[in-house]
């Protein structure tokens, strides 16, 4: 194990991989700063480039984008009151009032430092918790795995949807799509209509590109019409260096934010926005000056920023150990790893322990580079905000097609990407959350396989799901999450 840790560290610290992490963090910061672009879109743009790259380089690049994107979102939240990413919404509540008072530099400095500490804290959680959780997960049987995946889906539905029916429906439509292709046990074709392209089902990554990128392209056209997308950015925001009093004031909210973010990140589907708002609320309750929150409080920036950056490491824990994505970005990372023949899950720490630690240390370096680039190149990054959408959006539109085609050199993937794009648009029109569908696409095959393996082992006796402690625990948690969501909806 120790040798794997060392190998992982050395692999992640190779100059070429460090360069990839740095480039990724730079791209992530820019993507995060652009209003209307999500971190998932940023990763999708970079993804096609990674297909031919070494897995270590590819994952370093993608993790850089993931971590950078989370921090970049707060810069526009502070400077323009437009959160670059949904996770930065809470930051705008105090960041923008500080900018209006002429303290934008101080607000940006707080955001960078708090985000950096949150990221490092989540790295420590990832480093210490992930291997232990993977060791526990190795003891899971098919019935436990089924119940776990089922729990993952229910919690996502309840968190991701204002309407439980729509959340569950979104997940079920995803599972229905997963049934297209060969069945996972016997390889018999289902719903393929004799089409060879459908035999292996819809590729998860084409679905992802379509579901996220196409609605965003359309959304940006809408924004263009209403004129809400573009705002001039002032690059004169003063010094970002914090004084001792500021750092002292940040201690408590950063601690609250880091712990809240890392913990909530582990729960599938919770994501940055919820962690940011919960930690903001906790920090306000714990503050000696709660009345300053909402009027430009350093604590009001530090708590959500540390939380949403801590979510990143937290979300990597279930992804790496259980193969369950914590948020859409980690779902894409799963897809990227699968393209390289690496299946995230407990066996990753047994069969590819070196690579598992490469991911963990690449995440560490991503946080370091992110901090360095954000502190040294902030003014340059802010200037890049003025990149016209007239160039950016067509590039994304083209890369969606290129990325889908490059997966398997197949036009079928391009057409299915477009089909999922239209599906994503329809779901947006219906205010139906897209995340449950996405995660159903990731987890659907596993869900069916574990269900059928368990039932095969028990000769069709469903009581097998109530014979194991883990399975009972996950099923109880699933029931609680569904009833809680139902209760919250009725309230």
């Amino acid at each position: 194990m120790n040798e794997s840790i060392l190998q992982g560290f050395l692999q992640a610290s190779l100059p070429i991989n460090l360069m990839a992490t740095g480039i990724g963090a730079f791209i992530g910061l820019i993507v995060g700063m652009i209003p209307g672009m999500t971190i998932s879109s940023g990763i999708i743009i970079v993804l096609p480039l990674t297909f031919v790259l070494d897995p270590g380089f590819a994952i370093a690049l993608l993790l850089g984008v993931y971590v950078g994107g989370m921090m970049g979102g707060s810069f526009t939240a502070i400077l323009l009151n437009i959160p670059g990413t949904p996770s930065a919404s809470a930051t705008a509540m105090d960041g923008y009032p500080m900018a209006l008072k002429g303290e934008a530099g101080r607000a940006l400095g707080t955001s960078i430092v708090a985000g950096f500490i949150g990221g490092l804290f989540s790295f420590l959680c990832l480093y210490f918790i992930a291997p232990s959780l993977a060791a526990i997960a190795l003891k899971f049987h098919a019935q436990d795995l089924f119940s776990l995946v089922f729990f993952g889906l229910t919690i996502i539905c309840s968190f991701a949807a204002k309407s439980l029916v729509k959340g569950l429906l979104s997940a079920m439509v995803g599972l229905l799509i997963v049934t297209v292709g060969q069945d996972p046990m016997l390889g018999t074709p289902r719903f393929t209509f004799g089409q060879v392209g459908l035999l292996s089902g819809f590729h998860f990554l084409t679905a992802l590109v379509g579901l996220f990128a196409i609605p965003e392209l359309i959304n940006n056209l809408f924004n263009l019409k209403s004129g809400t997308a573009e705002k001039k950015t002032d690059t004169q925001f003063g010094s970002i260096l914090l004084n001792r009093a500021d750092l002292k004031q940040m201690r408590k909210p950063v601690t609250i934010g880091s712990i809240t973010g890392a913990f909530l990140g582990i729960l599938p589907g919770v994501g940055g926005p919820i962690a940011a708002f919960i930690s903001y609320d906790y920090a306000k309750k714990a503050s000696k000056q709660p009345e300053q929150f909402g009027h430009g409080s350093i604590e009001g920036i530090a708590a959500p920023e540390s939380a949403n950056n801590a979510v990143t490491g937290g979300a990597l824990i279930p992804m790496m150990t259980l193969g369950i994505p914590g948020d859409p970005a980690t779902a894409i990372l799963i897809g990227a790893l699968l393209v390289h023949g690496l299946a995230p899950g407990p066996l990753l720490f047994i069969e590819n322990a070196d690579f598992a630690y490469t991911i963990i240390f690449a995440f560490f370096w991503a946080n370091i580079f992110n901090f360095m680039i954000a502190t040294s190149g902030l003014r340059f990054l802010v200037k890049l905000l003025s990149t016209p959408k007239a160039i950016l959006m067509p590039i994304i539109a083209l890369l969606c097609v290129v990325g889908s085609y490059a997966l398997q050199n197949s036009f079928f993937d391009v057409y299915s990407m477009f089909f999922f794009g239209m599906l994503g648009l329809a779901m947006r029109w219906l205010k139906m959350p897209v995340v449950p569908l996405l995660l159903a696409l990731v987890l659907g095959k596993q869900l069916e396989e574990h269900l059928r393996v368990a039932l095969t082992a028990s000769k069709g006796d469903v009581s097998i799901f109530f014979t194991s402690g883990f399975s009972i625990l996950f099923l109880c948690l699933s029931a609680i999450s569904i009833f809680w969501a139902f209760y919250a909806n009725r309230k």
Binding site: M172, L176, I214, I218, L398, V402, F411, Y415, L455
Partner: protein, 155 residues
């Protein structure tokens, strides 16, 4: 408005789930050992979709009955329709025209749709960016992008 949308989507999903139920009933009933068979999982899912779709339709109907303000349906802006149409034409022509030929006009029109009005920008970036992407993928990442297959284009 949301109620109407829910009813429309609910009815469409009911029809889809019924179609999938019929298709599931046509699946071969191969059962090996204790395995519940290839139709088992699709049956659970299609039934769930059917129940949830009915629930969504009822929700929509109830919200209309409770006096939800009826609003007229607004067509999407023309540029959105143009964008979707353009995308369909682009991916339909891509196998025949190849990436380079198909993407240059596609990219230029998209730039215009997204507010690009500078003639020099449209003239330069229109061809340069797709060509750069093509060469980046083909020669740096060694990922072949589609070539023209029409004889007239030398495919």
């Amino acid at each position: 408005m949301m109620g109407q949308k829910n009813i429309i989507a609910g009815v469409v999903l009911i029809l889809i789930s019924l179609t999938f139920m019929y298709l599931t009933s046509q699946l071969p009933n191969r059962i090996v050992g204790g395995d519940p068979g290839i139709a088992f999982f699709p049956w659970i899912i299609t039934l769930s979709v059917l129940v949830l779709s009915i629930a969504m339709t009822i929700q929509g109907w109830l919200s209309i009955r409770q006096g939800e303000a009826a609003t007229t349906w607004q067509a999407p802006p023309t540029r959105v329709i143009v964008m979707v149409g353009l995308y369909i034409i682009f991916i339909a022509l891509l196998p025949y025209l190849g990436f380079l030929i198909a993407s240059i006009p596609f990219f230029t029109i998209l730039m215009f749709l997204y507010g690009g009005r500078h003639k020099l920008l449209l003239t330069l970036a229109g061809p340069c960016i797709p060509i750069s992407i093509y060469f980046l993928f083909r020669h740096v990442f060694l990922i072949p992008l589609p070539n023209a297959t029409l004889e007239i284009l030398g495919g």
